[in-house]
């Protein structure tokens, strides 16, 4: 089922276009990676999807189950500072706020959502800890839990692993993959194209002149994909699998 559909989007700041002709759609169960060079407009597109930035042209249609405020968002980690006084459960609970108008405490329903999500992400034992004293990997898990509180359908991640070491990054991807299998669609901005093609079902490649959107398989075979990827397509059926070529030549 289609969660959101974007058609011919054009974005920019102060009248200057940064991103144009962006069309794509997100379906239930998709794992989409947004890749592109620095300054190609990845974060701009994220802001557009979240509704923080208005498009110059084109529009994004959200499905009935997914209004704009139902997207769980996880930003680049650098935004969070060292000495903020907040417990893990305070942070996770703040993800449930999108739809309540006011209140001092949180309702039982909100607490239940937070408890469930914390268990899913594996941070229940940290709930009373101070957020700023956690390790980078733990902090990203907490923020992922907060994002999941805001949504059941779609999480949008902006380079979630840019500050993590390779081991923690791999763990984080495994967790994302598990959540994705459980039915949460993932839309992730990534620097690392080779990691992206391993994990994603679809790729959006932003570039100043043209934008690619298609399945990962199509991407690996496209000109854009070939330029960036050292190893060829991993699937055996493909004729341009270098390993197969080697085997055949032998």
């Amino acid at each position: 089922m289609e969660l959101l559909k974007a058609e011919n989007l054009r974005y920019g700041y102060d009248g200057k276009t940064i991103l144009k002709d962006v069309s794509f759609s997100v379906n239930e169960g998709d794992f989409i990676c947004i890749v592109g060079e620095n300054g190609s407009g990845k974060t701009t597109l994220v802001k557009g999807i979240l509704g923080i930035l208005q498009s110059y042209e084109g529009k994004i249609q959200y499905s009935k189950e997914l209004t704009k405020s139902h997207i769980g968002y996880l930003s680049q980690q650098a935004l969070h500072r060292k000495d903020f006084p907040a417990s893990v459960s305070e942070v996770v609970l703040s993800g449930t706020l999108g739809h309540s108008f006011f209140g001092f405490g949180y309702s039982k329903a909100q607490r239940n959502i937070a408890d469930k999500v914390m268990e899913k992400v594996g941070i229940t034992h940290l709930r009373k800890k101070n957020f700023s004293e956690l390790s980078g990997g733990q902090q990203q898990r907490v923020l992922l839990a907060r994002a999941l509180c805001a949504t059941k359908k779609l999480v949008l991640l902006d380079e979630p692993t840019s500050a993590l070491d390779p081991l923690i990054t791999a763990e984080f991807y495994t967790l994302l993959k598990k959540l994705n299998k459980e039915g949460v669609a993932v839309l992730m901005v990534s620097h690392d194209v080779s990691a992206a093609v391993k994990i994603a079902s679809h790729i959006i490649h932003l570039d100043s002149d043209s934008v690619f959107f298609g399945t990962t398989h199509e991407y690996i075979h496209s000109d854009k994909g070939r330029k960036l990827l050292v190893s060829g397509c991993p699937c055996d059926a493909c004729s341009h699998n270098p390993q197969r070529e080697v085997r055949e030549n032998a």
């Binding site: 006084p85 907040a86 417990s87």
Partner: protein
Amino acid sequence: MLKMLSYPFMVNALIVGLLIAICCALLGVVLVLKRYSMIGDGLSHVGFGALSVAAVLNIGAPIWFALPVVMIAAFFLLRLTENSKINADAAIAVISSSALAIGVFVTSMNGTNINLQQYMFGSILSVGQSDIIVSIVLTALVIGMYVLFFNKIFAITFDETFSEATGIRTDIYNIAISLLTAVTIVVGMRMLGTLLISAMIIFPALTSMRVCKRFLTVIITSVVISVICVFSGLYTSFTFKDVPVGATIVIFNLGFFLVFLMISLVKRLLCSKRKAKSEY
């Protein structure tokens, strides 16, 4: 103690002082955590300029002139800070000194600098009926906002982009907080002084953050510290006649800060010792 309450001006000062203490502490936590501390400082200088101009123009209750001016300034300073293209701290510094210069210039033209001294360092005697009314309304608004929208204030302070993405109108909250800060500063600065009011906003938050690690406890502790400091400050300056009240309050705040800093250092030392032991 009872003698202190037998003077009507002391009762006025106590009412306004304690109410402003609560507002400063509540708003201060958010301002400090959002890295907006300089806005408070800038606004107090703009307030000084506005009060001086009001005095020269012979406006009956200068507070009614200063309030709108400082509120407009608050609005623009917030815009300045949000707009990443302009170097905000430099801009605030320029606005502060310009407002201060205008204030000093205007009062000296008038031939007297009694007001100057009073506005710079504050005076209990300047608290009037209108200050009491404004501070009661202000405190009601600030406390009301914090009680009703506590969760959202936390979410916005912690991560503005995320809150915006979940559909919270962060711009409205930011404007509300900076306008309330403007009013707090105008009312508070007449008693505590232009140069010292920003300490009232920054100190309690900074002090409680040494020890408390949750948002809710930081806010409650800041309010308690702030109220104790203002009360002790007023009592001290009443007992030792010539001591200015603003300076006394700031010194009490400094004392609290140092004590809390010591507590946090001792705590950390104990923690690392325990860790080292358990590793053996």
